[in-house]
């Protein structure tokens, strides 16, 4: 080939490449109907499923969604900073159940129905104790009265009991309905250091150990406050009922639990189940993980049930769900794009895809539909059974300060640095001070003796 011919070939090839690139660049905006949006989200066990659904949304609609992924506390800080600036870089905030009131009450979130009066929460989507609505006049979470739809749930993060179905079958055990039954089953399966009867999260964090002890204390009639929804902030963390709940937690930990319960994170707990080192865990769902042969040594052997009850009180689990809301300081075109995503996210197709990607959906119809009858989605029944027992943990913007107290004191009680009654009495005094300083009427109970 002559030099002239070679040059001509190269030019032709270069023009072809340039043409293809231009066509691809032009094609994308033609497909996309909405402005690109950015979602700030935390890295949780359910995140990979959400990521898959976002990718599906992009493929289906041609719209662009960027995910800003952070650790739990890092996500909260980024969200705070974003809503306090002139223009938020994030169009959707994925807010945790422990902190969303701070964003509602601070006036940072736009009611979704103010952005588009036609927008609504699908009848099939759970409202999670009405946490999706905010009444700005009454300053409370309610869908009645002046309450407006302010967020859409994206994940039903609640604690579910995971147990080794294969070991249950081998030993002829029944799924426990009470803590006593769980203890009895855990004692049968406990064979340390090979396998722990139960692995519980006990480490301090932003909302870690407190979240995991709620099923114990609520199912014994205890709590941190008497009735937040009714405005009764009497401190009940040192009530005899809370004490009974914590004693149940500690009894399991000391007799059949992990030797390092005070140092166990959520990752450790899930890891213990996935590697076959735990017979039971109470954890948020990560079903895709346990049935993935690349990540699990117990594929097909983990089954799920609602958390147990005590003999005097019904089972109860804390809502640690995640809500997607649109900040006020976002341009209108991006608000519309965020709503377009939330509308699509509520569709049965999206919810089913979400479940298939390994995360729990927020659609009642999917959770109770034909998918729940299959082996792959056996966890859906436990989840739909547990959701009606789930309650909101904090309805005050001071939640993070109260959590700093409970995280420390519960952890100290679990690690044996403080005697349980002393830990609860100390926590009560510290919480009372936070609440009183913030202007609440927060009476205390008599100290535990």
């Amino acid at each position: 080939m002559t030099k002239k011919h070679l040059l001509g070939e190269r030019l032709r090839f270069a023009s072809l490449l340039a043409g293809t690139a231009m066509a691809a660049a032009l094609a994308a905006p033609v497909l996309a109907e909405e402005a690109p949006i950015t979602i700030v989200i935390n890295q949780s066990p359910w995140f990979p499923g959400f990521q898959s659904v976002v990718e599906l949304y992009e493929e289906t609609t041609g719209n662009t969604v960027e995910l800003d992924v952070n650790p739990f506390a890092g996500s909260l800080e980024k969200q705070r900073t974003a809503v306090r600036t002139d223009e938020s870089p994030f169009d959707l905030l994925i807010m945790n159940a422990g902190f969303f009131v701070e964003f509602y009450k601070g006036g940072f979130m736009d009611a979704l129905t103010d952005i588009d009066p036609e927008f609504k929460l699908s009848d099939e989507i759970y409202d999670f104790d009405e946490s999706v609505c905010w009444d700005a006049t009454a300053e409370t979470v309610t869908c009645g009265g002046d309450g407006k739809l302010t967020a859409i749930p994206v994940n039903p993060n609640i604690l579910i009991m995971h147990y080794r179905a294969d070991l249950y079958e081998e030993n002829g055990l029944e799924v426990p309905k009470t803590w006593d039954e769980l203890m009895a089953n855990a004692q049968v399966l406990n064979d340390q250091p090979k396998i722990y009867g139960i692995s519980q999260r006990g480490q301090r964090g932003a909302f870690d150990v407190t979240y995991d002890v709620f099923p114990y204390i609520w199912s014994h009639g205890g709590g941190i406050f008497k009735d937040q929804k009714a405005g009764d902030f009497t401190i009940t963390i040192n009530s005899p009922e809370t004490l009974a709940g914590m004693e149940t937690y500690l009894k399991l930990a000391s007799e059949v639990g992990h030797p390092s319960t005070a140092g166990q994170t959520q990752t450790n707990v899930i890891q213990n189940m996935a590697t076959g080192k735990a017979a039971h865990i109470q954890s948020v769902l990560a079903p895709g993980l346990f049935d993935d042969p690349n990540q699990s040594a117990v594929v097909g052997n983990v089954n799920y049930a609602a958390t147990p009850a005590s003999k005097d009180f019904p089972a109860a689990t804390p809502l640690g769900h995640w809500l997607a809301g649109v900040p006020k300081n976002v341009p209108d075109d991006r608000k519309a794009a965020a709503l377009a995503f939330l509308t699509w996210f509520q569709t049965p197709e999206a919810q089913e895809a979400y479940a298939r990607a390994g995360s729990a959906p927020v659609s009642r119809a999917v959770m109770e539909g034909p998918m729940s009858e299959t082996e792959e989605f056996r966890w859906m029944k436990a989840l739909s059974e547990a959701i009606p027992t789930a309650g909101l943990t904090f309805l005050i913007p001071e939640a993070s300060q109260v959590l700093a107290v409970t995280e420390l004191r519960f952890n100290e009680a679990i690690g044996g640095q403080l005697e349980l009654k002393e830990a609860l009495n100390t926590a009560a005094k510290e919480i009372a001070k936070i609440m009183t300083d913030a202007g609440y009427d927060a009476p205390m109970l008599d100290e535990l003796k």
Binding site: A73, L76, E77, R80, V83, R84, E102, G106, G107, F108, P193, Q203, R204, G205, A206, H258, P259, S260, T261, A262, G263, Q264, N268, Q271, N272, T275, K277, K328, N329, S400, Q401, A404, L408, N411, E412, I414, G415, G416, Q417, L418
Partner: protein, 291 residues
């Protein structure tokens, strides 16, 4: 002369302006914040004057007290080990003739690894169930140790990681100083029949004292700011056993969103740490020449 003075100040001005903008103003802002509580209502920050209340809260704060105490223990122990190890390694390396470059490269490796990766590596190594340390102990017939979950062990476990991470820093500075010492003094000492111990005590240590003091001050400042290792390894727990002050400030200021109280805590900490470092370096400087 007048013109000289003008240019002297004019050339200094950009640096002074930058210093004021980046250091002094934020400190004043912190000071102002420390006398207020900040609340957000209808997207507006509402500053409420609270006088010295935020400072008065400090002595009663469990995390602040534990943070200060643990930080001092952490800094003193970690830096002491790093200084001794760094000095010893530097001394050994200068005496080695074969594979000298190889040893130096190996010794400085940990300092090149980012803190976040170090935290992840050591968290895996310390893991109760799956960590290589406990696996080795069990292989040798022992019982697993709860390195990070036992309040009596956790701070020491974190100190070990910090020593591993930062000893190379001390090693590098000490090595540079050691290699720049004049050789004729050592030759004279050898002719005079001085033992190795005498050379170390009466020649090497006094001559290296300025480098030792600088290394010590650098390391103390950095040790007081420890954050990433604690954040990744223990989160300050169990209980308050590994709570360090930078982590407490982060928690109060950012996670709990108490910017006023967090500012008071920051300023009080700056005062405490600056005082301690000044006292320590004065003590070291005074002791130095006599040694």
């Amino acid at each position: 002369m007048k013109s000289d003075n003008f240019w002297r100040y004019a050339t200094l001005a950009p640096a002074v302006i930058l210093f004021v903008l980046l250091t002094i103003l934020p400190l004043f802002n912190l000071l102002a914040l420390s006398f207020h509580d900040v609340e957000w209502l209808n997207r507006e920050a509402v500053w409420e004057w609270v006088g010295a209340r935020n400072y008065a809260r400090l002595p009663e704060d469990t995390l602040f007290n534990a943070g200060i105490l643990n930080t001092i223990i952490f800094a003193v122990l970690a830096v002491a080990f790093q200084m001794v190890l760094g000095f010893w390694l530097a001394l050994m390396t200068t005496r080695v003739t074969r594979l000298r470059v190889f040893y130096r490269a190996v010794f400085i490796l940990p300092i090149l690894v980012p803190g976040i990766i170090i935290g992840a590596i050591w968290k895996l190594m310390y893991s109760y169930d799956f960590g290589v340390i406990n696996q080795t102990i069990m292989f040798l017939g022992g019982n697993p140790v709860d390195w990070l979950g036992n309040p009596n062990l956790s701070l020491m476990s974190v100190i070990i990681v910090d020593v591993w991470h930062w000893t190379p820093f001390c090693f590098l500075l000490m090595l540079a100083s050691l290699e720049s010492l004049p050789t004729d003094i050592f030759e004279a000492a050898e002719i005079d029949g001085a033992t190795k111990g005498q050379v170390l005590r009466h020649i090497i240590l006094p001559l290296m004292m300025p480098a030792i003091i600088v290394t010590f001050i650098f390391r103390m400042i950095l040790a007081f700011k420890v954050f990433d290792e604690i954040y990744l390894l223990t989160g300050g727990g169990p209980g308050t056993s590994t709570e360090v002050i930078s982590f407490t400030i982060y928690r109060r200021f950012f996670t709990e969103d108490q910017s006023g109280y967090g500012s008071a805590m920051s300023l009080a900490t700056i005062a405490v740490i600056a005082t301690l470092i000044i006292l320590a370096s004065r003590f070291a400087t005074k002791k130095g020449p006599e040694a």
